[in-house]
């Protein structure tokens, strides 16, 4: 009887050395004659424990971590294939408090199963949502999604059901492109926000759930073709998706006869090319059409006139991947998680200067403080956490006084912040917030699509003004000018890039003003040397 050993193939686990660990285990097994079956799973999302190794024993899965290749010989002699005692032994993953306290709905299978095994997928509840959807009328699928309270997880938090209803009711336009024009399902997998990796983890760790969610979306609105627009910075996710899609075609999950229903759904991955702006839905559509990724003026909404001029649902990875469980368990089940208008769960990502970084899927409602300290364990450096940026590079910098804000879309909006895609980046007290504000403007300048002036020009001017403030040049006027510029960008930009860049800038200025007011260095006398 062979022993099954799990070593993650998640890009972050690989970044911590999982490949070498897997190879070392295979080598040592060969050397000692142990019969080991290596499975490369997704990550459990506790990255300080990666590379994590799990061994299947009669008493359940036993985890060891973080494991380095040099530990392998010792693990074998400690009998780790039988779950033996060792300094790195963690016990069952499900009993580690960080994991045990989570509510994993969308990420239920990630790290648990072999991402590319359809057998595993089915055995853990996969395809039940799609099977249910095939029994329902399109309008009933849309109603379920609406009733579940699911909102777009990409950042804008728009109710998914309303978007879907609009696309369902929109009609296909005659097209020069195709004799049989169709509506489209587009998955936004251009996860560009720093501090976020939930899309990547899901695509690498459970690609079938995304495929299933997209097929359900297709059934709901009458679309027969889907695209996953994936950022090219995710080569591992790309390989996982391509393989999963090929297997899904081979097993009549994709193609002309979805699960024997006679319904068609085709799916393809398209790679982005390093443009942050293509995470904005209309830029993404232009990019998919083979153009520069420039923002479109709305209306028309993509749900009415989207990809190639056809009604298009465009949703984030997590939104689409949350659909199968809603179909399977019902709208009520999903709705019962969360609070207020934020229903269900949100996969939060703890990143940056944090001791226990990783993925925490939880119902809405816990506070930022709980996340940072109860889960995150404070700053990795051991110093106090001074600022936290939530929601990516366009999110506000929050000071300690706002750490009790609950994880809830409206609560964050009330603080002039946003929850966005659920990324939380912690900074310790060595951070220079003027530098962070400057970077926000610089990033906007680099990534602006150039279509509207406030974003294209404003961001460059923003960098210059912040430089003047920090250099103590006409400080009062410069600060007024910066606030004025931010107002213009906030209200005059075409999309969220220019429109939200003022958030990190103004919040830094508001809560960390002292960083902008450093005393100027004493001027050096001629000939005096530094250091």
């Amino acid at each position: 009887m062979s022993t099954t050993v799990y070593v993650s193939r998640d890009a972050s686990a690989l970044a911590m050395g999982a490949e070498r660990v897997a190879r070392a285990i295979a080598d040592e097994a060969r050397r000692t004659g142990a019969d080991v079956r290596l499975v490369r799973n997704g990550s459990r999302g506790m990255f300080w424990l990666e590379p994590l190794v799990e061994v299947v024993t009669p008493a359940g899965r036993v985890a060891y971590g973080p494991v380095q290749p040099r530990d392998i010989a010792g693990l074998f002699s400690a009998g780790f294939l039988q779950g033996g005692a060792h300094a790195l032994r963690l016990g069952a993953v499900e009993e580690i408090p960080y994991f045990a306290k989570q509510e994993r709905l969308t990420f239920a299978r990630v790290g648990l199963t072999d991402p590319l095994s359809l057998e595993d997928y089915r055995a853990h509840g996969g395809l039940r949502g799609l099977t249910r959807a095939l029994e329902l009328a399109p309008a009933d699928i849309v109603k379920l999604v609406t009733d579940s309270g699911l909102r777009g997880r990409g950042g804008a938090a728009f109710p998914a059901g309303i978007k879907w209803k609009t696309a369902l009711e929109a009609s296909v336009q005659p097209s020069a492109l195709s004799p049989q024009p169709s509506k489209y399902i587009v998955c936004n997998a251009d996860e560009g926000d720093s501090g976020t990796f939930s899309d990547r983890m899901l695509m690498e760790g459970d690609p079938y759930v995304l495929i299933e969610g997209m097929i359900i979306a297709g059934l709901a609105v009458g679309a027969t073709r889907g695209y996953i627009y994936l950022r090219c910075e995710y080569p591992h996710a790309h390989r996982a998706l391509e393989t999963a899609i090929a297997i899904a075609y081979g097993n009549h999950i994709l193609g002309g006869d979805v699960l024997g229903s006679g319904q068609r759904f085709d799916l393809e991955v398209r790679l982005g090319a390093g443009a942050y702006i293509c995470g904005e839905e209309t830029s993404l559509l232009d990019s998919l059409e083979g153009k520069r990724g420039q923002v479109r003026v709305k209306p028309p909404l993509p749900a009415v006139k989207g990809l190639f001029g056809q009604p298009t649902i465009i949703n984030n990875v997590i939104t689409l991947a949350s659909v199968p469980i809603i179909l399977d368990q019902g709208a009520e089940f999903y709705r019962n998680f969360g609070l207020g208008r934020s229903r269900g769960t949100l996969p939060l990502q703890l990143a940056g200067n944090i001791k226990y970084g990783g993925l925490v899927e939880k119902a809405f409602g816990l506070t930022l403080r709980e996340l940072l300290y109860d889960y995150g364990g404070g700053a990795a450096s051991g110093r106090p956490i001074r600022a936290v940026q939530v929601g990516g590079p366009l999110g506000a910098y929050l000071p300690e006084s706002q750490f009790d804000t609950p994880i809830d879309y409206e609560a964050f909006a009330a603080n002039r912040g946003m929850l966005g895609h659920g990324g939380i980046v912690a900074f310790d007290d060595t951070v220079d917030m003027a530098e962070q504000a400057r970077f926000a403007m610089e990033f906007c300048a680099i990534e602006s699509c150039g279509k509207c002036t406030p974003c294209r020009i404003g961001s460059t001017r923003g960098v210059e003004v912040i430089d003047r403030i920090v250099a103590n040049q006409a400080r009062a006027q410069s600060e007024t000018l910066l606030r004025d510029l931010c107002e213009t960008m906030l209200h005059g930009s075409l999309c969220a890039l220019g429109g939200l860049t003022p958030y990190p800038v103004l919040s830094a200025l508001e809560h960390f003003a002292e960083d902008f007011h450093k005393p100027s260095p004493p001027s050096l006398a001629m000939g005096e040397r530094v250091g």
Binding site: L14, A15, G192, G195, E233, S287, A380, V425
Partner: protein, 175 residues
């Protein structure tokens, strides 16, 4: 009386270099397999860059012709996206993350070290042609910052010492 050549417009482009045999094969291969897919331009550019490491300038008119689009349009797309390059990269490409989560863990210092160590700025290639340094804004490895990617493999918790070791490992793997 001026020499005729000086009367040419100042910005007259130099005569177009033709694609060499390898380049021609890559470009024609990409066009043949992808030209009929909807929104084919990005997939075509990726396919060429995957084979050649960059998109040679003389490929632009060929792509434009195949897709029935203007050269200006193709050039516009090519120059819009940070990922595409029109000059050959070094033997190894280092994508160094500059985004916030990495900043929180010392990415600014790592960036300064990388530039100093390699003797190049971003987008530059070392004199021996071994490494090209490119900025990247997030590799999705934000719980293990600072991050960089070398030839498609992501590395986490990279400090100056680890960076130097990675350079050595990368060149050793090649040999």
């Amino acid at each position: 009386m001026q020499d005729a050549s000086t009367l040419l417009p100042l910005k007259n482009p130099p005569p177009r270099a033709a694609l060499n045999a390898t380049q021609k094969q890559a470009v024609e291969g990409a066009l043949a397999s992808l030209r009929d897919t909807p929104g084919a331009l990005l997939p075509i550019l990726h396919a060429i860059q995957d084979v050649l490491g960059y998109i040679p300038e003389p490929a632009v008119p060929a792509i434009a012709h195949a897709l029935n689009r203007s050269r200006a349009e193709v050039h516009g797309v090519l120059s819009f996206y940070h990922w595409f390059r029109t000059t050959p990269p070094g033997r190894h490409v280092i994508h160094l993350c500059r985004a916030e989560a990495c900043q929180a863990m010392g990415a600014r210092a790592l960036e300064a070290h990388a530039k100093q160590k390699l003797g190049v700025d971003f987008h530059g290639t070392t004199a021996d042609g071994a490494f090209t340094l490119e900025p990247v804004y997030c590799l999705g490895n934000c719980a293990c910052s600072p991050s960089l990617m070398i030839d498609g493999e992501v590395h986490g918790r990279v400090d100056a010492e680890r960076f130097d070791a990675l350079l050595v490992e990368t060149q050793e793997v090649q040999r």
